[in-house]
Subunit: 316 residues, 4 copies
Amino acid sequence: MSTRPRYAFLGPAGTFTEAALRRMVSPEDAEYVPVVDVPAALGAVRAGEVDFAVVAIENTVEGGVTATLDTLAEGAPLVILAETVLPVEFELVAREGIAHGDITRVTAHSHAWAQVRRWAHVTIPQAVFVPASSNAAGARAIAAGEAVEGIDVDAALAPPGTAAGLGLHLIEEHVADNEHAATRFVKVGRPAAVPEPTGRDKTTLTVHLPTDRSGALLEMLEQFAARGVNLSRIESRPRWDRPGEYSFSIDALGHVAEQRMAEALMGLRRTCPLVVFLGSYPAAADEPTPVVPGTSDADFADARAWVEQLRNGDHA
Amino acid sequence: MSTRPRYAFLGPAGTFTEAALRRMVSPEDAEYVPVVDVPAALGAVRAGEVDFAVVAIENTVEGGVTATLDTLAEGAPLVILAETVLPVEFELVAREGIAHGDITRVTAHSHAWAQVRRWAHVTIPQAVFVPASSNAAGARAIAAGEAVEGIDVDAALAPPGTAAGLGLHLIEEHVADNEHAATRFVKVGRPAAVPEPTGRDKTTLTVHLPTDRSGALLEMLEQFAARGVNLSRIESRPRWDRPGEYSFSIDALGHVAEQRMAEALMGLRRTCPLVVFLGSYPAAADEPTPVVPGTSDADFADARAWVEQLRNGDHA
Amino acid sequence: MSTRPRYAFLGPAGTFTEAALRRMVSPEDAEYVPVVDVPAALGAVRAGEVDFAVVAIENTVEGGVTATLDTLAEGAPLVILAETVLPVEFELVAREGIAHGDITRVTAHSHAWAQVRRWAHVTIPQAVFVPASSNAAGARAIAAGEAVEGIDVDAALAPPGTAAGLGLHLIEEHVADNEHAATRFVKVGRPAAVPEPTGRDKTTLTVHLPTDRSGALLEMLEQFAARGVNLSRIESRPRWDRPGEYSFSIDALGHVAEQRMAEALMGLRRTCPLVVFLGSYPAAADEPTPVVPGTSDADFADARAWVEQLRNGDHA
Amino acid sequence: MSTRPRYAFLGPAGTFTEAALRRMVSPEDAEYVPVVDVPAALGAVRAGEVDFAVVAIENTVEGGVTATLDTLAEGAPLVILAETVLPVEFELVAREGIAHGDITRVTAHSHAWAQVRRWAHVTIPQAVFVPASSNAAGARAIAAGEAVEGIDVDAALAPPGTAAGLGLHLIEEHVADNEHAATRFVKVGRPAAVPEPTGRDKTTLTVHLPTDRSGALLEMLEQFAARGVNLSRIESRPRWDRPGEYSFSIDALGHVAEQRMAEALMGLRRTCPLVVFLGSYPAAADEPTPVVPGTSDADFADARAWVEQLRNGDHA
C-alpha cells in the first residue's frame, strides 16, 4: 500500500505541468495523478482525493491563470505551498528520418503554436499548422502514426523530454520565440501549518475593493506601502456579478509570519470587503527579498515596545 | 471586386470570436478572414493584409488575453477602436435523437470545459470529457460523425449558434457554470484618427515602471488619481527580460481627447520608461463615465486661464 | 503647608494664559506661579519646581506657538495633559469717566493691537496706539496713572476680567476684529500615566522627515491614513541646523491607547529619524472623534485574530 | 520731490525688520516708512500709500508669521516679490563703562529674551529680565537713561547695529542660544508682472481643503507630487469660522512660469475650494532647486507633443 503523497496535475504525462511537478517532487516520492484541467486538480485537493495539486498560475502555455486564480479563491480554503518557474520552450519531434525540410504539417496545442510562430516562419516556413487538443496528444499522434483531426502530420512541438519519453526523433530542442518567456506553477494544498519563512517568500491574496474609485485602489496599495511590502504581481478582474466592482489578485513579497506582512494583512482585513489568504511560500527566485529599512521584525518589536512605554508614561 | 473592410478573427466560423465580430459588423458589410490565433490576427493588421482584427482581451474562453496584450504592445503601433462583451455560455449539441441521458462522451475545447464542469457534474454526470483542438472542431466532428482524437463522441459543447450553423440538434442552450462570466473582445486597427469621445470611453495602455518599488506603482497610479481618472483594469506582468521589473496593462476610464486623460498620459510619459498608447474607444457599458468634480474639460480650461492670469500679474 | 499642585503660567495676573489656567483649575485647588515666558514655564516643570505649566500653543495673542513647540520637543520629556480654547477678545478699560470719544492714546501689547485694529479704526479712529510690554502692563499703567514708555495713555485693551481685577472702568467688552479667532492653551506635565482615552482625544507629536522629498511627507502622512487617523494640525519648520530638512509638529485625532493610533505611531517610529511623543489628551471640542469604518479597536482585534489563525493554518 | 519707492516696515529704526529691509534695498534707493505692525504694513501697500512692505513671515523674533500669513491671504491681492533670511542674534548694549558683571537688570522684548535665555543663565546669571514693548524701546531707554515700565535697567539686548546706531557701548555681539536660528522676511507688493524665474524660486500659496479628511490632505499633496514639486513649508491652521476645516499655508519650490508648478496650481485650482496665489519669487538659498527627472519644461513640452500626436493618430 502506497503511503506516498498524491499530486494532481494537468495530464497526461508529458505536459509542462508534469515537468513542473517533477521539479517539485520525484515520482519515487509521490504518486502522480493526471486530471483533465485546473478545476479538476484543485477540486481533487478539496475533496481529499489527493494531497496536493500542481497548477499553472501565470503566463501559461497550457491554460491555468484565470481558472487557477478563480478556483483558488472560491470554495473550501486552499493554500499555495511552493512555486516553480519553467522556461517556455519546446522540442520539435518527429518519426525517425524526418528533417526540418521534410515537414509539411506540424501539430501542437494552439497556445504552444503562439509561442513559436516566429521561429516556425523562419525555420520551417513551408509547414502548415494543425491544431491538436493538447501538446501531448499531438506528439502521441506522431508516435502512433495517426492523423490529427483527420489530417496527417509530420512533426509535433511538445514540452522538453517528449522525444525521450515517447521514443521519437528529436529534430530540434530549445525552440521558443522569446528566450525569456516562462510559466509559473504552484503547489496547492489544504490549509495546515504555513511553511516556515525563508527570507524570499511570497504571499498570494485575493482582495475585493469597496468601490471602483481609483482612490480605493490607492488606499489598498498604501496598506502595503505603509509597511514597506512590495508587490510582484497585481491583476484586477471585473466582478461580473457586481458591475463596476473589482477583484484583485496579488502576490506580495514577504511571509505572513513576518510583522510587516501581518500588519499589512490586518490593514486589508479591516478595510476591504473580502480578503482571501492563499498562502505564504518560498519564491522561486534565489535572492532574498530586500527588507526596506524600518520594516524588519526587530524594527516592529522596537516600535511596539516604544508605544507600550509611552502608554505607561515611561519615556526614558 | 470587394471594397468591404477585411476583419481577421480567430477562426474557424463558429467561434466566440466570430460571434463578437458579428456583433460589431455584419458579414454583408465586411469580409471575415479567419486566422489561426491572436498573433496571426494582429500580424495581418500590421502587414496591411486586413483592415482590422477582432481578438479576445479579457477573461476569455478561447485564449487571447496574454497573447493579445503582449502582441499589441510589441511591434508596429496598433490601436483599439471598439470593444464588445459576450456572455460565456454554450450550447450542448448532438446528432438528432440524442438526449441528456444518452451522452457517454462529450467534447469541447478544454477551456470551454472548465466553464461548464459544474453544470456537467449535475446534468450529464455519466459523460466523460474528450478534449478537442477547438470548440468548432468538436462540433464539426459530431456533425461529420467522426471521432475526436480517435475516440467516438456523442455530444459537443459549442458557442451559441452552432446547432443552427451546422444543422445539429440543440439539446440545451445557455449552458454556463457562472451566469455572470463574460469575455471582452476588441476591434484593433492601425493608428489613424482616434474615435470621437462619447463620454463613456476607455483608454488602454501598456506602462513600464522604473523599478519594482511599491512606491513606483503608487506614484504611477497617482498620475491618474491627481486628475480624477479611474481605472477599470490593471494587470502586472513580469518582464522576463528584466527580472524584478514589471509591465502594467491598464484600462483607464476616459478619452485622450479629454483634458484629464491627456494630462494623466503626459504624467506617465514624463515619469515612466515606456508608455504605449493602445487606443481610446467607446466602452461597452451604456452608462456614461462619472466625471469627478474638478476634472471636466471646463474645469481644466478655467484652471489654465487662472494660471495664465497669475503669470501676467492679473489677479482680478 | 500647601499640598496643592503648582502651575506655572505666563504672568502676571490678568493675562490670557491666566484665564486659560483658571478654566482648567480653580485657584483654590492649585497654586498659580507666574513666570516670564514659555521657556521659563516649561523649564520649571522639567526642573520639578512646579507640577504643571499652562502655555499657549496655537494662534496666540501672547506668544507661545513656536516657543512652545520647540521647547516641548527639546530636552527632558514633557507631555500635554489637557487643552482649552479661549476666544481672542479684549476689554477696553480706562479710568472712571472716560468714554470712547475721549481716548487719544490707547495701549496694549502689539500682538493684541493686531487683533483689534479694524475695530479701533471704526470705533476710536482718533486714538493713537502706544505699545506696552504686555497687555497687563498697559492696564496697570492706566490703573496707576502712569505713562507707558514715557507717553501718557487714556485707555488700554486687555484680556476679559481686567476691569474687574484692577477696579477699572469697563468701556466696552467683547472687542475683537474676528469673532472666530481663538487661542489654544495646553497643560503640560512630566510623563506619567497617560490620561484615559475619552473618544475625543488628540495626540501631539514632533516628527523629523528623512529628507525634504515631497515623497517623504506623503509617506509619513500615509502612516496615519493607512490606519484612518486624521490630523487636526500640521506645521513644518525648517531644521536650521540641517538645511533642506524639516521638522513637523502634528496633532492627530486619537489616543495612544487606541490601536489605530498605536499602529500609526509604530509606523512613524520605524520610518522617521525622530518621533517625539508629546501626549494624548482630551480635545477641547465636545463631539467625539468619528471613527473611520475598519479602524475601531474591535476591528483591529478581529484582524489580529484572523492573522493569527492564518499563521496556524486555521482558515475555518 | 522723491521718486524713490516707498517701503513700509515694522519700526522704529533698529528692528530686525529694518535690517532685513536694508539687505533688500539701500536707504539711498528707497524711502523707509516705519509702521506699527504687520497689518499696518500690508494695509499700506493695499491702500497704495507705499509701494512695498517688508514683513517677517517665518520663525520670527518680532511677531509676524501668523499675522503676515492671515493678512496676506485676506483682502485685496498682494504678492511676495523677494525674501531674505536673517540670523537671530543680538547685541548686548549698555552705557559706557558697564561690563557683564555690572548688569543687574537687562531689558528686551519678551520674544528676544526667549532666544537668549540660556546664554543669559550662563553669562549674566545675576541679571533680572525687564520686558520692554520692543527691542528698540529697550535700547532707547538705555540711551536716554530712562526706566522701562518704571524700573531702572543697566543693559539691553537689541538687533545687530543698535550700538552703532544709538552710540551705545557694545558689550557683546552675536548673542544667541541657537546659532542656527533665523527669521525669514519677505518683500510684498501689489500684483504686477511676476519676477522672472531664476531656477531657485519659491511659490507661496494659501489653500483651503474640502474637508478635514486626512485623505483630503494627501490628495492635495499628490497634486504637487504628481508633478515632482517639493514643498519647503506647510502649515495648517484651523478655520475658526468653519470648525473642522483647515487652511494651509504652503511654500512650494518652483515658479508659476515653470510647467510643473503651473500644472500643480491648476490641479489645486480644480480640486480645492480656495487657492490664493501669493507670488513666485527667488528663494534666499543660493543653490538651484533640483529638478526631478521628467519634470523639466522640456519634459512637459515633449509629453504634450506626444499626446497631440496620439490625438491625431500619429504614432510614428
